[in-house]
């Protein structure tokens, strides 16, 4: 049986759109704050979301980020259409990168993206078909009682 979903939202990410890169993660961060997710979980989730978003911007034609939040867990799925990843094992190795100079000039493409996402997430799944695209599914377990116990509680309207 599916767990009760409190919130689900999808966003489109465009490849090579470096001006708006990060905009989706920024929106996700706002949603998570408003949902009362603990700051520690938000930080791990947003660092992962942003790295994933940058991966779509840097390497794919377009992608969709879907966020779903339940009382127990928050899930982020990023599916893209693009060149995909030929060797996932290699892509997960710190320092491995196929980034162009343009990407490196922006401070990315150091081969830390996927390892960083894996490090920050509680569940991590990635699959890819070369020439078609990549699907990344990550989850973050919410801490019990986070609403009451985290740094003075969430902002209330």
């Amino acid at each position: 049986m599916a767990a009760e979903t409190c919130l689900e939202k999808s966003f489109t990410i465009l490849g090579m759109d470096f001006t708006n890169a990060g905009e989706v993660s920024s929106k996700v961060k706002k949603i998570l704050k408003e949902a009362g997710v603990s700051p520690k979980v938000i930080r791990r989730a947003i660092i992962s979301a942003y790295e994933a978003e940058m991966n779509v911007v840097c390497y794919a034609k377009r992608g969709t980020l879907t966020l779903s939040v339940t009382p127990e867990v928050l899930r982020i799925k990023v599916a893209d259409e693009g060149k995909g990843i030929e060797n996932i094992e290699l892509a997960l190795r710190e320092g491995f990168s196929t980034a162009s100079d343009e990407i490196r000039e922006m401070g990315f493409g150091a081969g830390m993206g996927l390892p960083n996402i894996r490090k920050n997430s509680d569940e991590f799944r990635i699959s890819s078909v070369a020439g078609q695209g990549t699907v990344l599914e990550i989850a973050f377990h919410r801490q019990p009682g986070e609403n009451a116990g985290s740094g003075g509680g969430p902002p209330q309207s």
Partner: protein, 126 residues
């Protein structure tokens, strides 16, 4: 260390002033690789960097970096300033190169990110 002290130590120019004039920084990180910033910085850090593009501000936003210092006298472009302003991220610019800017702050007691435990109050005066 307060941002005001950082400004004085680095002879820096304020591009965006903090909303809180007594803004406290627990630690700092000097880095031009944004993925490394995301991987290794902790919350409430000061980020010193030589990159001045939009992604630096985005990275600061995502990693909860408290304030930005651009080194080597590099002024951020208009878009980056506008974004930092909208996200309430203070911005300073110093003519000092990265090594010297970091060295001065470290010498005056602002620790690096690996030296401070996340959520720790050790760097606060009280």
């Amino acid at each position: 260390m307060t941002l005001q002290e950082v400004k004085e130590i680095l002879d820096a120019q304020v591009i965006i002033a903090p909303q809180d004039p007594n803004l406290e920084l627990k630690m700092a990180c000097g880095c031009d690789l944004m993925s490394d910033v995301l991987a290794f910085t902790k919350e409430d850090s000061l980020l010193l960097t030589g990159l001045t593009n939009l992604q630096v501000v985005r990275t600061a936003e995502m990693a909860n970096v408290r304030a930005l210092v651009f080194v080597r006298g590099k002024e951020p472009d208009r878009e980056a300033i506008a974004l930092a302003m909208s996200k309430n991220i203070p911005v300073l610019v110093t003519d000092l190169p990265m090594y010297e800017a970091c060295g001065r702050l470290y010498q005056r007691g602002l620790p690096g990110c690996s030296e401070v435990e996340e959520g720790s109050c050790a760097a606060h005066g009280g």
